[in-house]
Amino acid sequence: MKLLLVEDNERVSQFVLKGLAEAGHTADHADNGRDGLFLAASEPYDVIVMDRMLPGGIDGLGIIAALRKAGKQTPILILSALTDVDERIRGLKSGGDDYLTKPFAFGELLARVDALTRRSQGSTGITTLEVGDLRIDLLSRRATRAARTITLQPREFKLLEYLMRHADQVVTRTMLLENVWDYHFDPQTNVVDVHVSKLRQKIDTASERPLLRTVRNAGYMLTAQE
């Protein structure tokens, strides 16, 4: 996967580029707005990671607006030191696809970048999702594993749907909070873990091969792979 990082802080850039390389991605880097806009407009990238405040005459939101105006639909993850909910909304309104506040854990960044590529591959028109022998029907809201029917509360179904849409990817607790509960704040407890473990009890019974895994220091992953 090919990424573009537009970030002026050298330390943060090194940290992110190294992490992305370790995860098997190739990434270009621009340390100012002008170069960032040039690269983003001329090269085909899978995801762009964009800092909001940049030197070089044009800031992150300006670049995003310019790209969207030019018809470029590359998914963009905005990095920002501004935590305000309103700032987040502004960032997403300008055409960004996700918003991550600095400082961040690298696992969080990687998980969101992966989620963005998956989203860009498109999932419209799909009515069933499958991971191994786990299967959900989005129309009838039914979940089954092999021949067993799983009874789920509406919110549990939403949680499972999100995990299945991002199968084989790490999904962080914050991503779950934002996408399943629409809570854009830190509840300062491990409630998300409790929800996930409850869901796990329902989909992974003792005799079955576990699908829902905990990824240390990052989050969760639903996968049928060994």
């Binding site: 935590t83 909910v85 309103d86 400082p103 509960w181 809570y183 830190d186 509840p187 300062q188 407890t189």
Partner: protein, 471 residues
């Protein structure tokens, strides 16, 4: 020194004088034209009558007639003079034919000396048959004082007006200057850092008071923003120092002792956790400060708090089950307020989180939203835990305050202060009550007016409906 009061007064004085002149000019015109014309007409009629007497009766009879008229009338009321062709007076009350009367018939005004007094005469000269001449006239000098009085009166009026204008301007200027001086002094004190000062403003006062009131509201806002910033810097100074010091000593110790890789990585993980903790405090403080400024109100929308509470309860339910605490949401129907749903969710989440911590095993936490007797919305979370001693209650919502009982449980000590800040932002307050046993924490927030909650029940008593539902 230029002053708007002076300019204004000068303008008004000029305007008043123009108005006076506009009033006096027609009067003067009426005086001059109408009265004088009228007078000339009367004299001409008189003259015509006398001419008729002359034509009928001749010179001698005319002379007798004039002498008789002069004898009868008030002296100087009417001037009559009959003269022969050489202009020698024959009869009348003028001693001699006035020198400056032109030779032809007509109406003339001359200045002359009459019985030793200066006089102004209006005379009508009529040429009679046989070369005789007749003068009929009137001494108008007795009207002179009236004209003088008119002009004098006008001058006095202009004078009084100007004086009043100037004095008025000085007084108004002084009054305005003294008030502006007060405003200036207050502003200077504020510039020097005393943000608590306010401009004197009287309720329902004049324009200056209205302006002062507006400026005061602006100062209120500035002070609040300023206080928010100062609170954050105070809190950072006091409360981020401790975890940062811990982090620093952990890293320094690591650098000094250089333990094996296993232990080094453990320490690094611990250090990252420390940083995350600092960040959490930092974000919580920023959020509190943001709310202190009240700027978040711009994003308020109509929010049904019963939905917000139900979702929060649903979110915490598995955690409660894990702790074997009964978490119950009591539904009393929709209840709308103007607010920020995300902040309300976070605040209620904090209360539920707290309640779950203190309810104890087999305990009960009840979450409900109801309309209070005063019409405001009550969002309450009640637990069956040990509660907060009355002595600790006032301090419980202070920043970083952690009750004696909570020393062992995790948290940054900002939970209740965030709830209080959210309640305040929504124009309400956080109330900590005794649940006998346990704590009942409730946010009292002004609600939006709503129609009858239940069909068939009078909308006048929604509070009573809510109360009944509660029972």
């Amino acid at each position: 020194m230029r002053s708007s009061a002076y300019t204004l007064a000068a303008g008004y004085i000029a305007l008043a004088i123009v108005a006076l002149v506009l009033f006096a000019a027609p009067l003067w015109y009426a005086w001059q034209v109408t009265i004088n014309d009228n007078r000339a007409e009367v004299l001409q009629q008189d003259s015509a009558r006398l001419s008729a007497v002359f034509e009928r009766s001749g010179v001698a009879a005319m002379g007798d007639f004039i002498r008789e008229r002069v004898g009868l009338q008030i002296p100087e009321e009417r001037i009559l003079l009959l003269a022969d062709p050489q202009l020698k007076p024959l009869a009348g009350n003028l001693p001699a034919w006035p020198a400056d009367i032109p030779a032809a018939s007509g109406t003339y005004t001359i200045k002359t000396n009459l019985n030793g007094k200066a006089a102004e005469l209006v005379l009508v000269r009529t040429d009679l048959p046989g070369g005789y001449s007749l003068l009929v006239g009137r001494d108008v000098s007795r009207f002179q004082p009236l004209a003088h009085r008119f002009w004098y009166g006008l001058a006095v009026a202009v004078g009084v007006l100007s004086l009043a204008g100037v004095f008025g301007a000085i007084l108004i200027r002084r009054a305005i200057l003294s008030r502006i001086q007060t405003i200036r002094q207050t502003a200077l004190a504020i510039v020097q850092g005393d943000l608590s000062r306010r401009l004197p403003a009287h309720r329902g006062g004049d324009e200056l008071d209205t302006l002062s009131g507006t400026i005061n509201r602006m100062l209120e806002q500035i002070e609040q923003l300023f206080r928010g910033v100062r609170n954050v810097s105070d809190s950072i100074a006091h409360d981020l120092r401790t975890p940062l010091a811990e982090l620093r000593s952990r890293l320094e110790e690591l650098s000094l002792t250089r333990p094996g890789p296993e232990r080094t990585f453990e320490e690094i993980d611990a250090a990252v956790a420390d940083v995350d903790h600092v960040m959490r405090i930092f974000n919580a403080l920023l959020r509190l400060a943001e709310m202190d400024t009240g700027l978040r109100r711009s994003g308020f929308v109509e929010t049904d708090v019963s939905t917000t509470l139900a979702e929060a309860v649903e979110f915490y339910l598995p955690a409660a089950e894990l702790k074997e605490v009964r978490l119950v949401y009591r539904d009393h129907g929709a209840l709308c307020i103007a607010g920020d749903p995300l902040l309300l969710a976070q605040a209620v989440g904090n209360l539920i989180d707290n309640a779950l911590k203190y309810a104890g095993e087999q305990g009960t936490v009840i979450v409900e939203s109801e309309r209070a007797a005063d019409g405001s919305a009550l969002l309450s979370v009640s637990d069956s835990g040990p509660g907060i001693p009355d002595a600790e209650k006032p301090r419980a919502a202070e920043r970083f305050y952690r009750g004696e009982a909570s020393r062992v449980s995790p948290g940054v000590g900002l939970g209740l202060s965030l709830v209080q800040a959210v309640a305040k932002l929504h124009g309400g307050q956080l109330e900590l009550l005794d649940n006998r046993p346990g704590l009942r924490a409730q946010m009292r927030i002004p609600a939006l007016a709503v129609a009858a909650t239940t069909p068939g029940v009078s909308s006048e008593a929604p509070a009573r409906v809510a109360a009944a539902a509660m029972l």
